[in-house]
Subunit: 513 residues, 2 copies
């Protein structure tokens, strides 16, 4: 079956009938919220457990259950591995891992998959050895890839039922109030764990730091937390730092960033009340840096910034350029400090951040999102999930969410990367549909999506080197030659769900060499 | 049918089979959470409405719906009356009013009841002309009286379905983020509205103050708010002041308060980590005052205070006597100021505060609750809902919740009030079961519930004038004579639900004179 972005999708996946992607806002909800079982806790009952083993026995965790994890420690996470080690030791099989992201640190998952401890994975992002092994077909069942907003939606709407949520909590009290800003391993916002805490059948707080009752502030409350277990190590907050968080010095990237800033300025969105989301990489920060300069020159006061929060965004807030930081995840320790100290730095849950199915998420209020791409095609469809070799090395995360919500969505990327064209006729995997993208900015020029012809007029006389997407593609082909198709087998190893739960693409097994 | 406190309860009320009260923790939940319909809001859609009339048409509000209201403005509330005026003008009939409390200011309800606009009331507390008229049989269907925790439970567990929740919001942004601490009419915590916002089919924010997006902090978020309407008047924050909020100067009340403080000290709960809930009246504040002195003398650091928050409790917090204030409602403007300024002053929802059916509410963590009584009997059953004439003049509010949760629950009351005995053989209406009460403190002495004989030993040599409840009752009868039974008819005008949703008592129509 073909979906709205012309991808061939199997009719059934994992035994369930597939809902085809129909367009960014074409599929309306037709369900009620997930209704977890009602619990009761009497005065005097303790939630404290001695060990993860005790938690497993107490619940009890059984074969076939779905365990929830969140990724605020990113590549420093210490909880997922320890929980699965216990599962493995206790002989539990056939678990589904619903982890908001999977990093290199989660390499022990490989053995658990081989042993049958883990048989299904549901995630928003995967890099490292697990991602690679999935591409090579290690896991029998296709991985479900969601967006950050889509995961919140899936949990709230009952598509993803979590039996037991494990919440890595840098600070807890013995009755289950949690936050991420206190304790030795403070990692900042716990926003991605909010849906897990709200809707899982059982919620387990895993902490290395227990404070006297009551913990304040409360990010996740005792109302929803069933057990509290203190262990020695929940994660390394240094691991939250995502690659470089300094502004790039690469002249090509700086050129792209300056074009992007010009695009934003010329488009007319950069005025009082401006809101903005960008990534944490050096090129994204360069865009923020150029914007910062324009905002100061023109005395523009923005409303909010969002995205993985970094020192640079905090600086913009602290300089008074933005009224608020909306924070679902922190990407460095200065951001953690700011969440603790700054009144306008708000911790927000994944549903509030980006779920398409509630009374209005924050991405809907974005004036501008500046996002990256691994590949982009002439319809502006973006791939951020598979590399040029077809192997999984990322995921949407908030990409499709921000792109759908923002009034102006800009993709910034080198036109040519490692001698390969980023812009091609066909991207390997579609993560974000072209209809959500307004402008593509590369070192060679700027291409505007035809649905936004209004922008071309605005870009005249602004020094922005506008060219058509076809011209740009021709240029890329001229430099790199015709792109080679990736060699894949028929077998589907990953399903790319759009934020509304429809299938926008599938990932097929790469041919073994 | 007789329930566990020996009250005669009809088998069916409002056409539904009654669940009998079986004991404070005897009835376990056997349901799933209420599952509201899933919504969707696209970027660019506005939530702003021009008027309440437009909101009514847009939803649309129809005959027979249930409308939710919260009582943070107490006797200063301006929203309920205006909403019902619109309903009346539009010819809507048969509404259920699910208001967390009803005050004298809501007198226009009388006409709406007579006109058939309102045919059912569901509340936690009622005083003034509406309460009186209910007692006299004005409303055809019995009013459901709940506790504050019980209302949150009923909403979360699906016993109380709210079609449209109206949230009086002192500050809002145009996308529905709300708080109670900004704006000209700041009333503080919006905690009682949290369950309404989470579970109502449609949520309408009614505000007199719209700030640029995004409002910070966020008490109730845009995720759940469907419409925002700005009107001229939402309420008078002076109306939140509940009677006197100064410490009593009455020597009898001071005597009772000093006995209560001695009881708390002698019972052994007054040590580091001490947690405490009391009311806002002058006598309750006197207890807080005596405790404050002891805590300072002994250098005791408490964990949290709770209850209607007043200047006096804020002072205790600001003097460092307590680590946190858990705030579901503010009773004066200094409390509002503190919620805005103090890091340890936390806004909590009604479910987190007191629902018996979640993973653990805050009342479960109370070391001590000091509560009042209109009447109390020799089994320590307490009435705070009907007066000596059988007429409704209150309600449980958080009474039964705090009593059930606290390790030490003390009732403070004059033994004789207006020449009538407060302690009698039979209370007119049971609000809180005697099993939840540990000690009765009056000006004549202190009686200990037999289930807490352990306390009698502790009270020896402490200067506490302990007597048996029978001795105290005899003393009361000696002073006041035998209590006269209230003359009621058979007709049930009110159902008193215990916090778990079982029926602990009913209120019958008073005989017209």
């Amino acid at each position: 079956m073909k979906n709205a972005v012309n991808r061939d999708i199997p009719e059934y996946i994992n035994g369930k009938k597939v809902k085809l992607f129909q367009g960014a806002f074409a599929t309306q909800p037709d369900m009620h919220r997930q209704a977890p079982i009602v619990k009761c806790a009497k005065p005097g009952e303790s939630k404290l457990m001695d060990s993860l083993e005790e938690v497993f026995r107490k619940i009890p965790i059984r074969n076939g259950m779905t365990l929830g994890f969140h990724h605020h420690f990113r590549n420093g996470d210490g909880v997922l591995n320890q929980v699965l080690e216990v599962a493995s030791k206790m002989g539990i099989k056939d678990l589904t891992i619903a982890a908001s992201a999977i990093f290199s640190v989660h390499a022990p998952l490989l053995q658990h998959i081989k042993d049958g401890v883990v048989t299904h994975i549901d995630t928003n992002y995967a890099v490292g050895p697990v991602a690679k092994a999935i591409s090579q077909g290690l896991l029998k069942n296709p991985v479900i890839f969601r967006t950050h907003g889509g995961r919140a939606r899936a949990i709230e709407c009952g598509d993803l039922h979590i039996d037991v949520a494990f919440i890595a909590a840098p600070a807890a009290d013995e009755y289950g109030n949690l936050n991420g800003i206190k304790g030795e391993t403070a990692c900042g916002s716990l926003g991605y764990a909010f849906p897990d805490a709200e809707y899982a059948d059982v919620v387990v707080a895993v902490t290395d730091h227990i404070e006297p009752y009551p913990l304040a502030p409360i990010a996740i409350s005792q109302e929803r937390v069933d057990y509290v277990v203190k262990i020695d190590y929940i994660g390394d907050p240094e691991g939250i730092v995502s690659g470089t968080t300094k502004i790039t010095k690469d002249p090509v990237q700086l050129k792209i960033a300056s074009y992007a800033a010009k695009v934003i300025e010329a488009s007319g969105v950069l005025k009082d009340g401006f809101s903005f989301q960008t990534g944490a990489g050096g090129a994204s920060l360069a865009v923020a840096h150029y914007l910062s300069k324009i905002m100061k020159e023109k005395n523009i006061k923005g409303s909010f910034v969002m995205g993985g929060i970094t020192e640079y965004l905090v600086k913009m807030y602290e300089e008074g350029l933005f009224k608020c930081i909306m924070d679902v995840q922190d990407f460095d320790l200065d951001a953690v400090r700011s969440l603790k100290e700054n009144e306008g730095h708000l911790e927000v849950g994944a549903g509030l951040y980006a779920s398409p199915y509630n009374s209005g998420c924050i991405v809907n209020k974005l004036d501008c999102a500046v996002l990256g791409a691994t590949e982009i095609d002439k319809q502006f469809n973006v791939n951020v999930i598979t590399g040029s070799d077809g192997v999984i090395m990322g995921g949407s995360g908030g990409h499709s969410d921000a792109a759908a919500g923002a009034s102006l969505t800009i993709i910034t990327t080198n036109l040519v990367r490692s001698r390969l064209a980023v812009l091609k006729d066909r991207v390997q995997t579609i993560t974000t549909p072209g209809e959500s993208i307004d402008v593509l900015v590369t070192e060679s020029g700027v291409a505007v999506n035809t649905k936004r012809e209004d922008l071309i007029d605005k870009f005249k006389n602004s020094g922005i080197p506008v060219m058509s997407i076809d011209e740009m593609a021709a240029l890329a082909e001229q430099i790199c030659g015709k792109a080679m198709a990736v060699d894949t087998e028929d077998r589907v190893v990953g399903v790319v769900e759009y934020r509304d739960g429809t299938v926008i693409d599938v990932i097929r097994k790469v041919k073994s060499n």
